[in-house]
Amino acid sequence: MESERDSDENDTRVSSTTASGVLDTLNNDRDVLVSFVTTPPWLYPALGVILALFVASPAIGSGVGPSFAVVAVLALLFASRVTSRVRRVRLGWRGMFVVAGLVAVVLVMLSTSLGLLALKLNWWTIAPVAATFAATLAFGRLFDRFQVQDIRRGR
């Protein structure tokens, strides 16, 4: 009876080791996959230019209205998806916060731009335009970092 129990315990330990090894292998594979999850180097600069033009539109009358900006952003995201070898749509809650944060920044910068124009400070609109471009690059990098972390965690 005692020896049977010992034997069972040994079996459990072996299978536990094996299962642990399998889970480790899956973790390692996800680490390897991360190297294939790449954002095209042109994506965030191009997004930054579009959003910056959107913020600058009241001052320069560039014709980059909300509809054009949304279509252009979607077109860029589609082009990025076409060129990627690992497709991943899910944002994760942190990714959603990053996207929401960028939208908030763009709207605040647009308001600032309109305010500066109302005060006849046309040249000062360069500041929110530059800030929008910089924020797009920063938020883009943050988004990528969260995506990589989520993949490593198996989410």
């Binding site: 079996d11 459990t12 072996v14 299978s15 536990s16 094996t18 299962a19 642990s20 090894g21 399998v22 889970l23 292998t25 899956l26 594979d29 996800r30 390897v32 996959l33 294939f36 999850v37 076409v82 060129t83 070898r85 690992v86 497709r87 991943r88 749509v89 899910r90 989520d150 993949i151 198996g154 989410r155």
Partner: protein, 122 residues
């Protein structure tokens, strides 16, 4: 992942489990990426993908490639809803074993010796 632990005989084969593990964190993965990430041959990967497709756990689609100058098409691999559920349940079962809880063999669907094949195949 919160799934009910359950072994899946099709998924448990080492390479198939690793394929599902990669597909679980992405929506679609290029066949070539799977091959490079898992360091396996085309033939071996195709064979195991075929088994997963036949079990309804994975789907494959072909599309034109923007990265190629020739007319070859890219094969995209994707885990199905059933595949996701089966993989999550399988991983949960592995976690349970790792935690030392053990599983009812009737629920496992796999005998202990088959579990241990993983080590020998790696």
């Amino acid at each position: 992942m919160g799934a009910e632990p359950r072994f899946n005989e099709v998924i448990h084969a080492p390479l198939r489990l690793r394929i599902c593990g990669l597909l679980r964190v992405a929506d679609e993965i290029d066949f070539a990426v799977l091959r490079e990430a898992l360091v396996v041959s085309d033939v071996n990967l195709s064979k195991h993908l075929k088994a997963l497709v036949e079990a309804g756990l994975v789907t494959t689609t072909k599309s034109a490639s923007t990265g190629r100058t020739d007319l070859r098409r890219v094969t995209w691999c994707k885990l199905t809803g059933d595949g996701r559920n089966a993989f999550d349940a399988h991983v949960e079962a592995l976690r349970l074993i790792t935690a030392g809880a053990g599983l009812d063999p009737q629920l496992n669907g796999l005998a202990q010796p088959q579990i241990d094949k993983f080590d020998r195949r790696r």
